[in-house]
Structure formats: C-alpha cells, structure tokens
Symmetry: C2
C-alpha cells in the first residue's frame, strides 16, 4: 500500500490552489481551511469552511494532515499555534507573528540582523506621528502595522499632507511611519529552505507595481552589482528564522544600495512565473520543504520568464488564444475591482525575445 | 459575474484526473461520476459515487454540467444516452457504441471507410472459431468483442493452440478473431476535432508495448513514407463520426503499409507526453473541443518528447529526484500488479538528446 500524504493549507486562495495543482502530480492530497465558502482553492480540493477560532474544526483539520502550511500571512497566529499542537506546521507560527507586524519585521531586519532598511518609526499617537513625519523630512508612508497587503492600509505622507485630518480619519490604532525609499527598481528573492538548512534561490525577480499591487515580474532581473547581496540578505533572514518552506523577500535597489522592504513567509506572487519558468516551481518546492524531501532545482527552465497579473478582470483572450510559451492561469474567482483573478506567464530563450513576447502579450491582454 | 463552466466526466480514473488538472487553470470546475469510492480523480475534484444504471444520480450529475465526456470507452452506452437527454455529451454515445465492440469498429474501418485492417472474423461458436483460425493460417488473436483493454481478454492463436480446450476455457461469448499483423512498429495518431470540423493532429506517436500494455511513447515517430497516410486515415474516421474531442487511432506499420488496429474515443495514454511536450495538451484540447473554444496549437513545445509508463509500482525516485526536462505524474492509485500508477515525460531539443535522456530516465526508474 502507498501512503499518500495529506497536506493542509490555512486559507483557500489562489496560492493554496496553485500549491495543490503542483502537488497533485506528486500524489499529495489537499485539504483547505477557510472561513469563506467560495474560497477559490475549493475548486481543486476539499474545503473545510470554518472560522479560525473554531478549535473543533481546526483540530479535525490538523489531525488528517501530514503537515499544514499557509495560503497567506494574516492567518491568526493563535490558529496556527493551535494547529501546531496537533500536527507539524511550516513555517513556524513565530514567523507568522513577525510577518504580520511591519514593526516587528523591520526590527528583525535592522536590530537583529543588521540589514539595511529605510528609516521607520512606531506611531501610536498623534504626537508620535508629528515627530516621525518631521524625522522623515515629510516624505514617507504611514502604514498599519498589521493586516496590510497589496498597498492596502497605506497613506503617502508629503509636505502637503494634513496630518491632523489624516489622524482623525484613520481613527487610532498602531502604525509605522516608513521614510520613503527612492529606488531605481524593486526586486524580490524567492528562496526555498528545508529543515536541514539547505537553501536554493530562484533567479532574482524584478517587479513592477501599480498602486501597491504587483503587475509584472521579469526574471532574471537585469544583473546589477547588488544582485549577490540580495541573495545574502534573504538567506540571512531565512537562517535566522530556521525557516522551512518558500520565503519571499522584497527589496528596493537605490543608488545607495539595497534596502529590504518586507518579507512574505509563503509562496509569493513574484514567484508565479516559476510554474513554467523554472525546473521546480516555488509551489512544489514549498511542499518539498514541508515534506522533508530534497528541494528541486530552481534553475530557469528556458532562460527567461515573465509574469503579468490580471487585476480586476479575466481577459477574454485567455480562453480563445493559446500560443507557444504563453500560459494562462485563471483562479476561478469572480471579477472584482482591484482583485487578482489570474495571471499569465511567458518563457523565452533570451532577454530580447522575452521583451518582444511581453510587449505582444501585454497588447493581447489589453494591458 | 463570471460564469465558470462545470464539466462532468463519466469515469474517475487518471484520464479524468489529468483532464481536470489541465482544465483548472482555465477556470473550469469538474465533477466525476464513478461507481468506485476511491476512483483517483476524486483526489482533485467532486466525485459522485453511484452505479452507471442509477438514473437519479446520472440526472443530478448531468444537470450541473455544461457538458459531459468520458474517462474510458467502456462507460455503458445506456448511461451516456441518458446523460445526453439532460446535457451535451461528447463524443456522441454512438461513437462509444462502436468503440466498445471490436467487430463494429473493424466493420466501420473496412466496410464503411475502406481503410486497411488485418483480416478479421466474427466468432460466436466453436465451428466459427475453427473456420476462422484456418482462414488466418493459424496465426492470429482471439479477442472478446467487448470490454477488452490493455491486452486483457486476448488469446494468441498459433499452430500449437488447442482450440477445443481454449473454447471450453473461455466458455462462450462473442469474439473476434484477428489475423496477426506482422508489423515493424506501432504508431498512433492523436487528433482533436471540434464541432465546426476543425482538426488538429499531434505529431505521430511511436509506441512500444509489453504484454499488451503501452510502456513507452516517442514523439515525433521517426518519419516514414507512411506518416502522411496515418494522419489521413485518422481524419477520415473523425470526420465520418462527426467526432468532437480528442480521438486516438492506433495503427501497425508493416512492409505492406499501414493497418488500423483500433481507436479510442478519448484522450489516450500515448498522448500523455503532450502535457509538457506540446503547446496545448491533449487534455486541454479535449476540453476546448467540448466547450466549443478554438483548438490550441498541437505543435511540439520543444521539438521532441517521450513518455514512460509506470506499471504496477510508483518508482521511489519520483519523489526524490527533480531534473530539468523530466516530469513525474503520480496518479494517487495504490500499487497493484499490471496497473498504470503514473508516468514520466521527458522533452528534448533533438532526437539524439531525447534518446540520451530516455536511456538515463529508464535507468533512473529501474525500468
């Protein structure tokens, strides 16, 4: 008899869905835990619909799983800790706790690891806000410490900002003021680390955002003198956290070097290209790490790759067109403004070909 | 609101599973109908467990589907016809009826389409058997007319065969005696046809069998003077049947030309390589045809491809090794002698590289 492994995922979004799609050909079974009945991972596996504080449901969920992991970093830490009492969970709930709080994250990077980050200030009161804004030369971002993603919960601070009015509008809470980092480009390192401490990094990803949301990733990023440093920083973080799974670290590249922006303790949107663009996708390697299997090669499958997000709407061309080296991923979510509903990937043999294909694809998508 | 389409599949084996895995990224949902609770497609979608004569269950199944198709050709025709009263079904149940009966199939090929097949004789009695064997020069295969697959239900007939004993053993029923075709190689055409009559063929597949089961497929088959003819024959069959979906036609290549062996009205084991080896897999094109979408390009993604079946046992290397251009597919079925439990695919830029990779892979698999 074979023992087919069951993997549980807290959260049932597109990341959970893609983890399952890459895990099925390895014979893994999946169960998803999500408070929402129409969570899109339900399309491809068993969806347990329950709240994150429902310990009966969490216990039932955990007990059928070889190990549990996350679809997103805002899974309540308490739920993750409860699951940890019943089965293995990767990455460790401690990591979630740090990743959920921008302040703790920055403190880890700067104080604990001595890595470069833009200046930041904890803001819990109006007077702290005023002090922090002055320290940042009126040039920064006020962000909620918790539950922010895709540019949500962020306010640009400039000379023009009416701080009094802003403070009244946001109506209290815990914030961080981050000095604006004037960067030349944004890059991310996607790495996989297993429990033995083996680390494999994917090629450096160059990311373009619009209104805080990732729109395009190009891989490998055009080489710069900072590329090696980027990998060193990300590995340092992973080792410090005894990290198991795929970790994404976003960084800003400036004239003064690299600054770490944030980390995501999970598979990451800027790694979606790896499904077709790498020998082993970030999804498969996340599962391999959790499973204690050897990591798969992270080298490029064809040399170059790019990913374009579909935000708000599934492009109609995705069902009619089917071209060589172009791949569609529809998540099965309803169209909604500002929502990631799918993505497309292209692969190419060289940078020039990639550029040509991306331009053609963007035109096809009407992007 | 998007309308995500629901596709039903009668039968829940690995073909249904792979149809779903390729359909998910297009946003399709799947429901499988199978009498067996552990049918392996259940790994990746909703499995309705009921018998094929349970009309209540069939109606419930059909009514939620945009269209229905098959995992295997031995789905009872009555069940398919009942489903057809409630939703679209492709290919047409008439095609199932022919494909389920070796005699009807051969009559279609030879009488209706004037295509070359080896000599064959209907055998319903001992005297018919004796006559047929004599007509075949004591060199043939006695096969059950119905429910045979993967070499099951077949008896080799030679000078040595004790016909009296054999007839007693098989204990009646409807048979066909096929004269042995002494072939140089076995090839298959995999094509996709949509309701508008568009046909796209994959490159010719060269297949190796062991004890009636497919073990290896190499694509494209080394070109021969018969290649064009093979495509013509398969297209003739598809057009005659007003076929919708993927059709596989197996043929023998001999010194005297091609002889058609049999057809499969579904995606086919000798087309599994297309998941990674072609721009559009046979699974996606089967769904596209059923959905009325334009067919996707059937050209090779990299030039060359091969598929090796795993029969009886999942090779342990499939979880530990992960090499470039080599892909594993574990179906999630229990190991069992003679059972197809998975397959591996390789892709390559040229024939020599493919050969090297296949030899290396076979060694890795212990095949």
């Amino acid at each position: 008899m074979n023992n087919f492994h069951v993997i549980g995922i807290l959260g049932g979004g597109q990341l959970a869905q893609m983890l399952a799609l890459d895990g099925f050909p390895l014979g893994f079974r999946f169960v998803f835990f999500d408070p929402t009945a129409d969570a899109c991972a339900g399309l491809v596996g068993d969806l347990m619909v329950a709240d994150y504080d429902d310990e009966g449901a969490l216990e039932k969920f955990a007990k059928q799983c070889d190990f549990v992991t996350y679809d997103f970093e805002n899974v309540p830490v308490k739920a993750a800790e409860f699951v940890a009492q019943n089965t293995s969970i990767f990455p460790h709930p401690n990591v979630l706790e740090i990743a959920q709080d921008r302040l703790k994250e920055k403190v880890l990077f700067r104080e604990q690891l001595n890595l470069p980050v833009g200046d930041f200030y904890s803001v819990d009161s109006y007077s702290e806000l005023v002090f922090a804004v002055k320290s940042c030369d009126n040039d920064g971002f006020l962000k909620t410490r918790r539950m922010g993603y895709d540019g949500k919960g962020q306010h640009r601070i400039t000379n023009e900002t009416d701080l009094k009015k802003l403070w009244e509008e946001i109506d209290g809470g815990s914030f961080i003021l981050e000095q604006a980092v004037h960067f030349n480009r944004e890059v991310s390192v996607i790495l996989a680390r297993n429990a033995s401490g083996d680390i494999l990094c994917y090629e450096l990803c160059e990311n373009k955002h619009k209104q805080g949301m990732l729109t395009t990733t190009l891989v490998p990023a055009t080489p710069s003198k900072h590329s090696d440093t980027a990998f060193d920083y990300a590995k340092k973080i992973a080792n410090e956290l005894s990290y198991v799974g795929v970790l994404a670290v976003e960084m800003f590249e400036t004239n003064d070097g690299l600054f770490i922006n944030e980390m995501a303790p999970r598979v990451h949107n800027s790694g979606h290209w790896s499904i077709e663009g790498a020998v082993t996708s970030q999804f498969e390697n996340h599962l391999r790490a959790g499973m204690g299997l050897p990591l798969g090669s992270t080298e490029m499958s064809k040399g170059y790759s790019a990913m374009i997000n579909w935000i708000g709407e599934i492009p109609s061309v995705s069902l009619t067109s089917k071209e060589k080296d172009v791949y569609w991923h529809i998540y099965g979510k309803q169209n909604r403004k500002g929502r990631k509903v799918g993505h497309s990937t292209v692969v190419a043999d060289n940078a020039q070909e990639l550029h040509t294909k991306v331009v053609k694809l963007a035109k096809l998508l009407g992007a």
